[in-house]
Subunit: 506 residues, 2 copies
């Protein structure tokens, strides 16, 4: 029976290799490429993705898929073969639904918009970018129409990245989050002085920070035989296959959090990639389940582990040995408090654990309003600023720190933001289950033993790759549907204690 | 009329991009790839070359070429269009002549042979490798038969890399070289003490060496906006297009020559790549004319410039400032003499300027003898050792330092060695012409002005890419056919003076 899949697997392996080669090109562009390489590199990248797309969307793949569906019909849902065919069918149908002209127009329009978004941002002048956002909305709508949806255009876009989730579901999750976080943010604001993070700004030698971050992620379980760490403007993780999964970090002498937590975050993604079953290699199933599930792993390691007190009980002594001067007179508890300081801010990518989801919520609401015609482009900055004030309590000083901050709206990428919040939500939901399975987890962490936790994640999440949708995975692992309750409980407890908010009664 | 070429150019651009992406993968593998990446990387590389090969050898390209030949029939030989079609036709016919089964068998057999060549080399035991060399000879013969030749099988293989050259021509060149070098090597041996190179082994800080080498090649004209230098086991240069041409180097604290001259050598290749006309970008013509012509540029910059006395008059003061301690009491002339010491040795890749070509000659003769059936595999080590003794005057102590030293015979790569000697020969022939055009070249070099020389090479050699065969290029630039006479005159004069051999009378 598996022979029936052989032809399909060969083409998929070729397509995967082409995408992985493209990933190597991306990595190189962000780390070592000389400035003059931009033009050639964009030619190479677009050729690789065109060739891969042509091959993957060929009629031949359609025929092989039809055959394969018959061959796996009676196989278990979670078998490698049935999963391969199911996931490939989903990808194939989505890829075939987008007309080549639309794909080409999106590419053209994105590269045309980019410089104007940059200029608008530089000059903090939304009007320069407005016509391109207009075009972008139109293209997002056309993509949604081409992909098809039952209820809301956002559903079509979301289904590409987080299959099975709907805008309505997200709306319910965000409503619950908002109800819990907005008052919490206000409470924290009133007790801001309860946490002192001045130690983080005392000056930390950059080379030592980079080295310490690498040692730390290696201790967590990021395998350096199959990985490495480099420097880039924005940290990222990237996989070229199970044998080669890389992370990058950045470093700031005057703010300790950037390098270490950036590295742990990316190593969370990296360990996920490294843990996907080799049996799935060179297929459509070899990847994280979705951007949201991927983010659950980076956030789990970065926040639920890396920003926990047991973590600092273990790591602080070596940290103090490495940075004797800036850490003089500081202990593990004080450092734990410092790295967790909540500081409502304008820029999403620098947001703390509590406020982060509100940034995402705001974009989710605006994207839906734009897609469904309730919000005109000219009114977007005002809508942004109003929501920002009501959620985070800050007056946005200008469009650069407001509506123009993210690159996402300069290309056709609506529905990409929610993955960040899904990551937070799923990380806490998984952690609740982990703590019921590994009851002495904190003791493990306090001893610097991360193998049990990593092993649990490998077994329940990583090894499956893309076999399951985010919803299927959460249900399968935790026994219940996606819910923000564990995350809300987690931040209320943690930040309640940090800021002395007396929330214990809940 | 050029419209007729549009379809062909689009496919060639795609094929070139795929090869360039493959080159990025190669570069990464040699510089930064973690050890676990080997398996995935070889899958990606072979997919890229298969996809590129399939596209390039398609019937569609054949039809487009037929049309194109009509369209360019009346265009000048050296026009971009006529050259593109002529060179593409040559590549296409060669690629189509090799049956897919043979290509696959060569790939399989090369990867099977590699570990046994490595083991044989480690154990200095030729017998372990012998069966694989046997197979390799058979495959080289089959390639030659498939490609076709009039006189000698070597011609077919040589025509792939150095189009237009024949084994007979090479034989004549090598005979002339041998007649001049063998007695010169013997003379030098008798006066070995005339040159003292102990200064090179006094210990040079590796980081400073790498930095100095980079500054030096930048001063020569290697453009760092479109290039960079990294470290690898074996130095190489590699191009991903006109905007991104990289070099690597290696460093040895106890032998100064390795890093600096390795860098200059690779920068010679790099400046060639950087100088190819952008009008030829993303076509089959965007590359060096041949491995031999490419090597002429690395050798020209490394030896004819970098190992010249005017070069050291300019660079020695800054070198001395950088390496104060090891260079104490040394002057420019003494350093010039040291870096030029001739030291007959067993290993080709470490050979000095004088003996290098003899290493290549030896392999050229043995390859022909094997291909034409005059030499049996079991007799190869003995034949090697005898030739080595007669050419270089050394008794080969074992097969590791003898017949097993090069990797080339572990894959199907006969006829690749002559490029190294062609490089030497062409570099001197070009330099003779350069000196007649730029009569005060040494004065330029002594002032650290390399722009005139680089400009000359860009204009006469680099910008043409692959438009001309090595023979056509040499004829076009120097007005005469390929000849080893300038190179022989150059080494006799230079080493006659260095070793006080009294050769001035010739």
């Amino acid at each position: 029976m598996p022979d029936k899949l052989q032809g399909l697997k060969m083409i998929l392996a070729e397509v995967v290799d082409l995408h992985r080669a493209g990933a190597v090109l991306d990595w190189d562009q962000e780390t070592y490429m000389p400035p003059g390489g931009v033009q050639n590199r964009s030619e190479q990248a677009s050729t690789l993705s065109e060739v891969a797309h042509r091959r993957f969307t060929s009629d031949e793949v359609g025929r092989l898929l039809d055959d394969a569906e018959g061959a796996v019909a009676k196989m278990p849902f979670d078998s490698d073969e049935a999963s391969l065919v199911r996931v490939t069918r989903r990808d194939y149908d989505l890829a075939r639904k987008l007309p080549a002209e639309l794909v080409a127009e999106i590419a053209r329009s994105s590269s045309a918009a980019r410089p104007f978004w940059q200029q608008a941002r530089r000059e903090a002048n939304f009007a320069i970018f407005a016509p391109y956002l207009e075009k972008n909305i139109e293209l997002n709508k056309r993509v949604a129409e081409a992909l098809g949806y039952e209820k809301r255009p956002y559903d079509a876009l979301l289904n590409r990245t987080e299959p099975g989730l709907t805008a309505d579901q997200l709306e319910a999750i965000f409503a619950e989050l908002k109800a819990a976080i907005v008052p919490l943010v206000a409470d924290i604001k009133r007790h801001a002085d309860a946490v002192d993070d001045s130690v983080l700004h005392r000056g930390f030698d950059p080379d030592k920070q980079i080295r310490y971050a690498l040692d730390t992620v290696a201790a967590l379980g990021y395998d350096l035989e199959r990985g490495r760490q480099d420097i880039s403007t924005h940290p990222f993780s990237i996989a070229f296959g199970p044998g080669d999964v890389r992370i990058t970090t950045r470093v700031n002498r005057d703010f300790f959090n950037e390098c270490l937590f950036g590295s742990i975050h990316e190593a969370g993604h990296g360990m996920y990639f490294q843990g996907i079953g080799r049996n799935l290699d060179r297929t459509t199933v070899w990847d994280g389940a979705s951007p949201g599930v991927h983010e659950s792993q980076s956030r789990l390691w970065e926040n639920l582990v890396g920003r926990s007190l047991p973590f600092w009980h273990y790591f602080f002594p070596s940290l103090r040995k490495t940075f004797t001067e800036p850490l003089e007179g500081v202990d593990a508890e004080a450092f734990y408090r410092a790295v967790n300081k909540s500081y409502p801010s304008f820029i999403r990518v620098e947001a703390d654990e509590v406020t982060y989801n509100l940034h995402v919520l705001l974009r989710f609401e605006l994207e839906n309003d734009m897609l469904e015609g309730r919000l005109k482009v000219r009114d977007v900055p005002e809508a942004w600023n109003e929501l920002f004030k009501s959620y985070i309590g800050l007056d946005v000083p200008n469009d650069r720190e407001g509506v123009l901050q993210d690159i996402h709206w300069s290309f056709v990428g609506f529905a990409e933001f929610p993955g960040y919040t899904l990551g937070n939500v799923i990380s806490a939901q998984l952690m609740e289950k982990i703590r019921s399975d590994i009851t002495d987890l904190d003791a493990h962490i306090e001893r610097g033993e991360f193998a049990t936790l990593l092993g649990w994640l490998q077994e329940h999440v990583y090894k499956h790759g893309r076999k399951f949708t985010p919803g299927e995975l959460v249900e399968r692992v935790t026994g219940g549907p996606l819910t923000p309750k564990p995350w809300i409980a987690y931040v209320r407890k943690k930040f309640g204690a940090l800021y002395g908010l007396g929330l214990d009664r809940d």
